[in-house]
Symmetry: C2
């Protein structure tokens, strides 16, 4: 997994994904306050904006590869929602600097490498990746926004809030899983790989927004909460996380 994160210069990074209790216990997780982490605004916005552009490109790619027009249409709102989030985050950057692309550019190589790794071998793995990674990344950047100074945090939370555009993915995947008994176990395995790679991106994002390695202990409860949400998304597909 860690081959994609050469840019972290910490090749030994390893994330243990805890086996989770059933959904009923989710409310007993500690409430996370990421306000303890204080991300720098521009690196935060640059990464969040490029992540949304990447989600847009992946959904668009899945639309192009969709077997039917009905599938294309079902996926279209997910693409427009990610693009809308990207453009609103870029607008926040533009309030602060003239060239938003200069703020975003330093983060593209790492995220592009990650995208290659979680791309998937076929259309269903690609759809599962988009659904699972976009869910984790939206959660993460929403939690991280709590530590931003001034009113930019709440504005970013509002920008990242919607995920309605991705609901069609669960319908497509659930129908496919019901028709192919091999697909479910394959996507369950794929989901486990994807979550590990995505949490590595989140961890690197914390460091790239100016937080020290010593803050890592504060990160663990955040990751526990994010994995709980991930488990609910896997449950929603009828898959074991």
């Amino acid at each position: 997994m860690n081959v994609v994160f050469g840019f972290l210069r910490r090749p030994k990074v390893r994330i243990d994904i805890p086996r989770l209790k059933p959904r009923e216990d989710v409310t007993s997780y500690p409430k996370v306050n990421l306000a303890e982490l204080t991300p720098e605004v521009l690196p935060y916005l640059g990464q969040a904006a490029y992540v949304q552009l990447a989600i847009f490109e992946e959904v668009s790619d899945a639309i192009a590869a969709a077997p039917t027009v009905a599938d294309k249409q079902a996926l279209a709102s997910g693409a427009s929602q990610a693009l809308d989030k990207h453009e609103r985050l870029v607008a926040e950057i533009r309030r602060r600097v003239d060239q938003p692309s200069e703020v975003i550019e330093p983060f593209t190589a790492g995220i592009d490498r990650y995208r290659l790794v979680v791309k998937g071998a076929d259309w269903y793995e690609q759809l599962a990746s988009v659904y699972l990674t976009a869910g984790i990344l939206d959660d993460f950047f929403t939690l991280l926004a709590a530590g931003l100074p001034g009113d930019i945090g709440p504005r970013c939370v509002a920008i990242l809030d919607a995920d309605t555009g991705r609901r069609a993915i669960t319908d497509i995947l659930s129908a496919a899983i019901a028709h192919d008994e091999v697909l479910g176990p394959r996507l369950a395995m794929w989901g486990r790989r994807v979550v590990g790679d995505t949490l590595l991106v989140c961890r690197s994002a914390i460091h790239l927004t100016g937080n020290a390695v010593s803050d890592e202990e504060r990160i663990e409860p955040v990751f526990t909460e994010m994995i709980a949400s991930h488990t609910r998304r896997m449950d929603g597909l009828g898959l074991t996380a």
Copy 2:
């Protein structure tokens, strides 16, 4: 050129593209009234909707292939505009039938074949194709809307009206042409091929919306007007049509 239009069952179709007079004479072209053609509403909407989805996919593909984040951002609004047009056309179909995809599906094979032909060999040809084909196709479906019964025609004209999202393409292409003296002549040749293939799609769309072959004479002035607009787009890139 006509290999893509096997679905027309009229393999001998041939379009002569007239050499145009300079831009100053454009206003002297006869005013075209496509209200003489009476397209059927659902085949019109199905084709127009799929054309916009195809434009969206091509712009998205160009975004994914863009060399810089600044280029990606510049192209993003073209993608969202095409997707918005698609979704609004689908909404018009949904007012009439439950499954819009069934209205669209019959037209996908022909348009997909056309897309392969005008795809382009590199990113610049791809951008030129998107810019030129989307321009011609928006013009064409706007003109054809004049013959639709009731108030659906004006609504479609309003849906298809905007092309602001594609203006960034001319900036990117003009800058590239200024830096590479071989690129301009290559794109000029490419533009001539693209316009021919696109006019074939338009001609087939007229027939597929229920107009007889005998209506072809009425089509010629429309095509003349569309080619005049195409010539202005080529002029805007500093290229000869």
